[in-house]
């Protein structure tokens, strides 16, 4: 069961009209290292985790990723709101407008649609947690790149928050990995 809370996890402020950023930000909505990939990855892997700590952590981080998905969507929505088609075209969003108008659509920065091929769920908890730690680093790197691409202080503030969450999630996944490895080693002692 999930409950929607009618608020963002962190306030989104778009202070300048940096329209091309919408095209870049969308990769954190529906790209390989984006928030949708993260949420589906963790919420799929949790069923085959062997310990209560790892089941809880994947549930909770997977849930937080859905809140991050909403933050990214809000940034894109606000950047594109009321921008006329000709201006979108001049700013490199003509293809986006053709297929999606001002709607949100999960794709990467090149318009490639989201696919489950971005994630893995192997049933091996050690393998899955290693994937999760790598995923957090890849998302952190993507946020670094996005921060380098804009000079909007409002957007940078929100992106720094999201970047920091990747660092914290990486740390927690490392602790869950230790827990799972401890559990698996203890099973091998007769």
């Amino acid at each position: 069961m999930w409950i929607y809370e009618k608020k963002l996890q962190y306030p989104v402020r778009v202070t300048k009209s940096d329209i091309p950023m919408a095209k870049y930000l969308i990769t954190q909505y529906g790209g390989p290292d984006g928030e949708l990939s993260a949420a589906i990855r963790y919420l799929s892997q949790r069923y085959t985790m062997p310990t209560d700590k790892s089941k809880a952590l994947l549930t909770d981080i997977g849930t937080e990723e859905l809140a991050h998905l909403e933050i990214i969507a809000t940034m894109v929505y606000q950047l594109l709101k009321d921008v006329p088609p000709q201006q979108l075209r001049r700013k490199g969003l003509g293809a986006q407008y053709t297929q999606h108008d001002h709607a949100l659509y999960p794709s990467d920065a090149n318009g490639v649609p989201w696919t489950a091929a971005y994630i893995q769920s192997t049933g091996d908890p050690v393998t899955d947690l290693h994937e999760d730690m790598a995923a957090e680093q890849k998302a952190r790197t993507t946020y670094d790149h996005l921060i380098s691409l804009t000079d909007d202080p409002g957007l940078i503030d929100g992106l720094r928050f999201l970047r920091e969450r990747e660092v914290v999630h990486f740390q927690r996944f490392g602790e869950a990995l230790n827990d799972v490895q401890g559990f698996m080693n203890s099973k091998k002692v007769f």
Binding site: I3, Y4, E5, K6, K7, L8, Q9, Y10, P11, V12, R13, K53, A56, L57, D60, I61, E64, E70, A73, T74, Y77, Q78, V168, H169, R172, E175, A176, D179
Partner: protein, 85 residues
């Protein structure tokens, strides 16, 4: 959005962020007492402040987690992505 509402919403965001961070920490450190005490204190304050906010500005939750005045208040905007923070 009225500045008073926005200020209360920001307070809720801050408090709930503390609760989220402590949740993840406690998932991998369930035997630590100090963060658990902190979590319980924040949970109490958050419950209280959400009720105060909802009484003034309408429900933050549907599905039976919050009551609504007449008419059904859940559908009332602005929705989170429409707010100028």
């Amino acid at each position: 959005m009225d500045p008073k509402q926005l200020q209360m919403l920001r307070e809720l965001m801050e408090l709930e962020f503390v609760a989220t961070e402590l949740t993840l920490y406690l998932d991998t450190h369930p035997d630590e007492e100090a963060p658990l005490r902190h979590y319980n204190a924040v949970a109490g304050e958050l419950t209280y402040k959400k009720r105060v906010y909802e009484a003034a500005y309408g429900p933050l939750f549907s599905f039976g987690f919050s009551p609504s005045q007449y008419p059904w208040q859940w559908i009332k905007g602005p929705w989170p992505w429409e707010i100028k923070y």
